[in-house]
Symmetry: C2
Subunit: 461 residues, 2 copies
């Protein structure tokens, strides 16, 4: 196999980019010519960049089965690159007419995926900004009230809460890493909560908070429900979710605001988050005068409804192109790709469950698997996880580690003595559809790695 033919890096797709650039140039062919450009030293710098980029895990390869890193689809990568030849700015129509329209269309399709025919929404640089905007709007609507999220919610909520001057309280989780609705109700009884963040796919374990229960509590206590679906937002499209998980997804549209990161499971390169509000009226909080933009059109400029000002139209173009190729519909090619990720996770979980060396806290709710090597003590299990992580990496299998509270491992029998409050366990985010076909090979490498670390048999705790 020559490097040139190495498929995941797919350099041949540059031909398609070349053809598209030709087409782009046609649209501007009536402008007066500009003198020759070009700079030979550019090629040398690019080669140097390529050499430096070797110092990376191979995120694009199915044997990378570690952190939450998914390669963008070639169409997203190429459309992003193509748009950089124009470099539109989606702050205002003056800076990016076509890409602003494409953003409105692409975001509209995301809103329809969750059942909203009307909405207010836009793309952001990422999940932090998207969640910040959602919590900020909540703060404006419920001033002085607290925001709560589960202990397994992303750490960004607590920190953003502090940035926004909002009191934050963490809600304990149940044994599957989901917000404990009973614990939430105890908090609701004792203090004024303005916003409950429901995590739809936690970062560590892909757990989905019990949305139906939270919606019922909203009826009784009155709060804004913000769904942080940065990771799991697209999984409502697939078949084969657990019935309880499916019930939650079917009611996602009842949330007041939703964050979905197309740069996580939406096949986009980094720099693409999205915030959606059910009530378009919240646009009033964004209002401002701009004395230097918004001149070319009376239509909505996206800068009028977002906190960020200049931002890449290229991200919108890439998302639009991707959704054009892969519409966000149940039963479609995109949904099937997500389904294969989940199938990979279930297959890995099954093997882990059947193996005496490992303990799993619970089956994967989406496509993230966590497990731990059995040992006498939690500290010993943690040490084994770290060693298996390293052994696997030396065999080209790249896993991840996570610190999880011991409660999640209650009843798993992972160890007999809890000499620490957290367990460092193994974690695999199986985001690539190809992971399904590679599970056998992944298992073989994991088996060898565990064998190398756990040569001495450990009695079951």
């Amino acid at each position: 196999m020559s490097a040139r033919n190495y498929d995941p890096l797919d350099p041949d797709s540059l031909r398609a980019l070349g053809a598209a650039l030709d087409r782009l140039a046609l649209g501007f062919a009536d402008l007066p010519p500009v003198g020759a450009g070009g700079d030979g030293s550019l090629e040398g710098v690019l080669i140097e960049v390529a050499a430096r980029l070797h110092d990376n895990y191979p995120y694009f390869h199915p044997l990378y089965a570690g952190q939450m890193l998914k390669p963008p689809h070639p169409v997203a990568r190429l459309a992003y690159a193509l748009a950089m030849w124009i470099n539109p700015n989606n702050h205002a129509l003056d800076g990016g007419r076509a890409s602003s329209r494409m953003e409105k269309e692409a975001v509209g399709e995301m809103a329809r995926m969750i059942g909203w025919e009307s909405h207010l929404g836009h793309l952001c640089g990422g999940g932090t900004m998207a969640n910040l905007e959602a919590l900020w709007v909540s703060r404006e609507l419920c001033p002085g009230a607290a925001v709560v999220a589960s202990r397994q919610a992303h750490y960004t909520h607590q920190r953003i809460g502090a940035v926004l001057g909002m009191d934050f309280e963490p809600v304990p989780c149940d044994g599957r890493g989901r917000m404990d609705a009973g614990a939430l109700e105890r908090i609701l009884r004792k203090r004024r909560v303005g916003t409950v963040v429901a995590t739809i796919g936690t970062t560590a374990t892909g757990s989905v908070d019990p949305l139906a229960d939270l919606l019922e509590l909203r009826e009784r206590y009155g709060f804004r429900l913000h769904a942080d679906a940065a990771y799991g937002g697209y999984f409502g499209l697939i078949e084969g979710l657990d019935p309880e998980t499916r019930r939650g997804y079917d009611r996602l549209g009842e949330a007041d605001s939703i964050v979905i990161d197309p740069h996580k499971h939406g096949l986009q390169p980094y720099g693409c988050g999205c915030v959606l509000f059910r009530d378009p009226e919240v646009g009033r909080f964004y209002q401002h005068d701009s004395p230097y933009t918004y001149f070319s059109s009376g239509d909505l400029h996206l800068g009028e409804i977002s906190l960020e000002c200049s931002r890449p139209g290229a991200a919108a173009v890439a998302l639009w192109a991707t959704q054009r190729l892969f519409p966000l519909v149940r039963g479609g090619a995109f949904a099937r790709m997500l389904g294969r990720s989940r199938a990979a996770a279930l297959a890995l979980h099954q093997r882990l469950e059947a193996d005496e060396r490992f303990a799993c806290p619970f089956p994967p709710e989406l496509d993230i698997v966590v497990w731990a090597p059995r040992a006498r003590r939690a500290s010993e299990s943690s040490e084994r996880s770290r060693r298996i992580f390293a052994e696997a990496a030396s065999r080209q299998l790249h896993l991840a580690l996570a610190e999880l509270p011991v409660e999640l491992f209650d009843g798993s029998g992972v160890c007999g003595e809890w000499d620490r409050a957290n367990l460092t366990c193994l974690r695999s985010v199986l985001m690539k559809p190809e992971h399904e076909e590679w599970i056998e090979r992944i298992w073989t490498l994991l088996d060898q790695s565990a064998e190398a670390v756990m040569r001495e048999p450990t009695p079951r705790a």
Copy 2:
């Protein structure tokens, strides 16, 4: 001229990207092969994208002389595209080892440009997030104190101040669109100000707040000085600034925090802001635990010192490659390019000043020119600006409009009767070095456009 040879779109540079992709693939050649990819329908979608992108002003062309839009340098565009093949995440070394190091190097070079050998800093999605982080750190250091910025500062400061729960007060400007230091002192005498935002290159007119005066006031009143140099941050590298402006740039390193947007004048595609703090100790405000990342190395993960979590390593790679080709040094090729932008602005200003039809409020301090057609009334001048804007566009010359307060036009003789508080004037941001050679042509088109609008001679007011 065939579309293929149209230089500003430079499709031939794809050859360099192809060579770099080959080099990239070599670094991962020992991984097991993956089945064939490729999808024919991708090409059709890309062609559709290219066709839609025709609906844009030609930002890459010298006849686009309107808003603050500068084409990325080809090396930035290609390095960004190349990095998307890996799609690193600069949140943690686990997600982007090479690109995190490149970010530290590139940001370090920016810090050295302003004279800092030590600093804390990182890239952001854009200027809003960068300024938000700077104001947030200020708030933590001076809780309860107000933030002030000039009336010509970007609207984002007032809005971000509100998001952060900080009182905001605008400071009046002098006749050149710069913060009036006397007016600032009157505010400092009457209330507790924690942060003064000095704008180094306002969006509307490229005016530079009088940094030396503000630093003197800091001595006496004690506040944090934040320099919003999103636009003008690089101009300290050039020769030929006005002596007063130069004095300000020479003391930029005395600010407590600085924001510079490489996606404005730093040749980068959108999605690249940068915040720098003089005191690395402010890193403590960012502290958080992440139970799922920061495992692969004990070195600093950039997520530990930024509010954003997942963010594109590609932005860092592009900036690093650009600075490799164009080091940030006085007298270097990059500085000379900026100098040509300023020369273009001075040349346009000179012609406008010599023409009876136009009035200029003041000469350009950097490379942004504003002017207005003379008329009896402000409303009439504004209407003429709008018509010249449209006439010029019909001749392929793309200018911008701006709403400026009448005070800035005091003494310009633009009109005899001020029947409105703002003047809609013409504005040209001459960010491309090629603008220098194109000023003659730009002037000819502007002259024709003005002629078409102002056929009836108007007596000087």
